[in-house]
Symmetry: C2
Subunit: 399 residues, 2 copies
């Protein structure tokens, strides 16, 4: 139930401050005159607000413009150091933190193991410690920290900050955001891990300035993130994007989730590895996807077939996404896309074959691998995105 916004002077100011901030963020260094033209605000308003933003250190002077016949323009740009955020990727046995500035540049990266622990408050404490260590060792003022973003696998609600289900820790309805917040006294945002990556693409990656796009991750599982009207789609309760668990064949093998014939059970990395292992002696059986790729590169027909079949089925899954949602951009990412042409070429081929009637013509497809740092950076960008979010959108933080 979205609440309506009430209009008053404060709102106007907030809108225009935000407008100028975003204008500068988008276009880089701009003069006040250029801001006036782009934002369509009056010169007076731009003058007053930019000077306010300069005193608040949100903007910086950055040299002068070219000579165009009169007084030179004073160029203004965003101060990336005006604030920072820590993004956390929480995994089964590791906590990965990334401290970024406003432009999402990683200033400090911190990767620490975690004891095999399941108790929510102990994990929250470990997480808060990792964040404090990251900040302390970075040299950045603690006061500049705008908030924390946490990304973790499973189903969680960003609105309430509750983890409804975590496959790693076996949690049910754990208020993780609250547990961390009371330790750090900062706004804490939480997201599905795929969504953090999606946000990162939306803000700083290929999805910049694109209204509607989808991110599909391939690895141990298959996930999906969705951007709709420049906003991250979060489903009703945060549970969404279970692309890996759509039914591919109702008569197929049992999946880890208990259902039969999930896409994941056919086409995710473990399925590919298992497929090759079955017909091999225990000695030279592949243990990781990289092993399979090595075999395929070495000419192994079975490994090539396994990768090709996985690719084809993934392509059908991607086609389902395109048919249902028709995004302008489809980003395929995750550890699994390193598998090279043996997997990716059949995937793109199947995507084309199974997409409805010319729908793909307007869809750009990008394949790119990721690493842990990208995920953590994405988690940090949740916080950054809130900072630049229009005041018209209700803030959904646990602040």
């Amino acid at each position: 139930m979205s609440t309506f916004v009430r209009g008053n002077k404060d709102l106007i100011r907030a809108i225009n401050r935000n407008l100028i901030l975003n204008t500068v963020r988008r276009h880089g260094a701009l003069s006040r005159t250029q801001i006036t033209e782009i934002s369509r605000l009056s010169v007076g308003a731009v003058s007053q607000i930019t000077n306010e933003l300069l005193t608040d250190q949100w903007l910086l002077q950055s040299g002068e413009g070219d000579y165009t016949g009169g007084r030179r323009q004073t160029l203004l740009r965003l101060n990336p150091a005006a604030g920072c955020a820590v993004g956390v990727k929480l995994m089964e046995r590791r906590i990965v933190c990334a401290l970024t500035d406003l432009e999402s540049r990683v200033l400090r990266y911190f990767d620490t193991p975690m004891p095999p622990e399941q108790d929510p408050s102990l994990i929250a404490a470990a997480l808060a410690d990792a964040v404090e260590t990251t900040v302390a060792s970075s040299g950045v003022e603690r006061g500049k920290l705008l908030g924390i973003g946490i990304g973790l696998a499973g189903v969680s609600s960003p609105q309430t900050g509750v983890v409804h289900y975590s496959p790693f820790f076996g949690w049910r309805d754990v208020p993780l955001a609250d547990l961390v917040r009371v330790r750090l006294h900062l706004p804490v945002y939480m997201e599905n891990d795929v969504n953090t990556l999606t946000l990162s693409e939306m803000l700083f990656g290929a999805g910049r300035h694109i209204d509607n796009f989808a991110v599909v991750t391939i690895g141990r599982g298959i996930g999906m993130g969705l951007v709709v009207n420049q906003q991250l789609y979060q489903g009703a309760t945060g549970g969404m994007g279970e692309l890996g668990h759509i039914t591919f064949d109702p008569a197929g093998p049992l999946c880890t989730c208990g259902k039969r014939g999930c896409l994941e059970a056919f086409a995710a990395d473990p399925a590919v590895i298992a497929y090759v292992r079955h017909s091999r002696s225990a000695l030279d059986a592949p243990r990781t996807l990289d092993d399979v790729i090595a075999l395929a590169n070495g000419g192994d027909a079975l490994a090539r077939a396994a990768l090709a079949r996985s690719g084809e089925i993934l392509g059908i899954g991607l086609a389902t996404v395109v048919n249902l949602l028709c995004p302008s951009l489809l980003i395929v990412s995750g550890e699994g896309v390193t598998a090279g042409d043996y997997r990716i070429a059949p995937m793109l081929e199947a995507l084309r074959t199974h997409t409805f009637n010319g729908l793909l013509d307007d869809v750009q497809v990008i394949v790119e691998p990721t690493d842990d740092q990208a995920w953590a950076r994405g988690a940090a960008s949740i916080v950054i995105s809130k900072v630049f979010e229009s005041p018209l959108i209700e803030a959904g933080a646990t602040a």
Copy 2:
């Protein structure tokens, strides 16, 4: 590329006018004091704006409130006759028009056949004529007409008003909205037909006040409409919701779209009918879905099996929607849901079976049939929704 909004006094006024209008629309008859409480606006602002809306005839006085110890409240309510809209469902051989008031009540319904014509400008002319006839015969002032909404099958772009592909007329990139607009001199909005129904559900049906939901229509084809954050999702180019053309079995039969194994080729009404016809003499072979249902009711095992199989596959399609998008509500509609328990029960069963891990717990499922009037009413509600839309959202009309 969404443009940012600039804040000024006009915007404030527009926001608050809209806020009050929507407050009254939601809550029914309200006094100024009550509006003040709900909208959190100051008494002064409410007084001024409501009086402005009264002079503009957008609001009406509607009696007095109960005695609460002092002066009685003057109740205000929305004037449903402040404006009206015509919704058009454009079909292969018929034009169906519905003239509705602001509360989406149908004031006039007009159904007229169309010659087997394909030329865009002739069809646009016929459409404009049908609209004029509808308005003239309704007795409503022409000046009250706020706009036209057109719903038609195929792929069209609401932003530009261009029909990219129409299965009925074989069109490619026809600027239908423009063709109609120059004849009527009114804003013309266009949508996929399923989206018009979705909008109708969002504004006046089961989807009222629900942020995220999906509408799936079953009939000759299988379509889907999506509401995200209280907004209709329109994909990148308007082409979306092709649930009927996701691949169910890559080795399946050829679909009308040219692909193999589409959901539609397995589970839409024509597939059910064909399935039963094959094993019957030409004489008592069913020609419509109703024939099949009659056979099933009469005890025919084959008809029952055909319906059950169709239902099961539909259920898998619905599960795909839930797995990917996790809406709070799923509305199943269209002519095909009249098929009763032989089809619907297996469908719901399959939906449950193929949905990921408790994701369905929070999803409400509603099955309800529709008729042509509902579609046309939905098309009209596009216009109505624009009228009440927040001024913060860029209007995407061909106005």
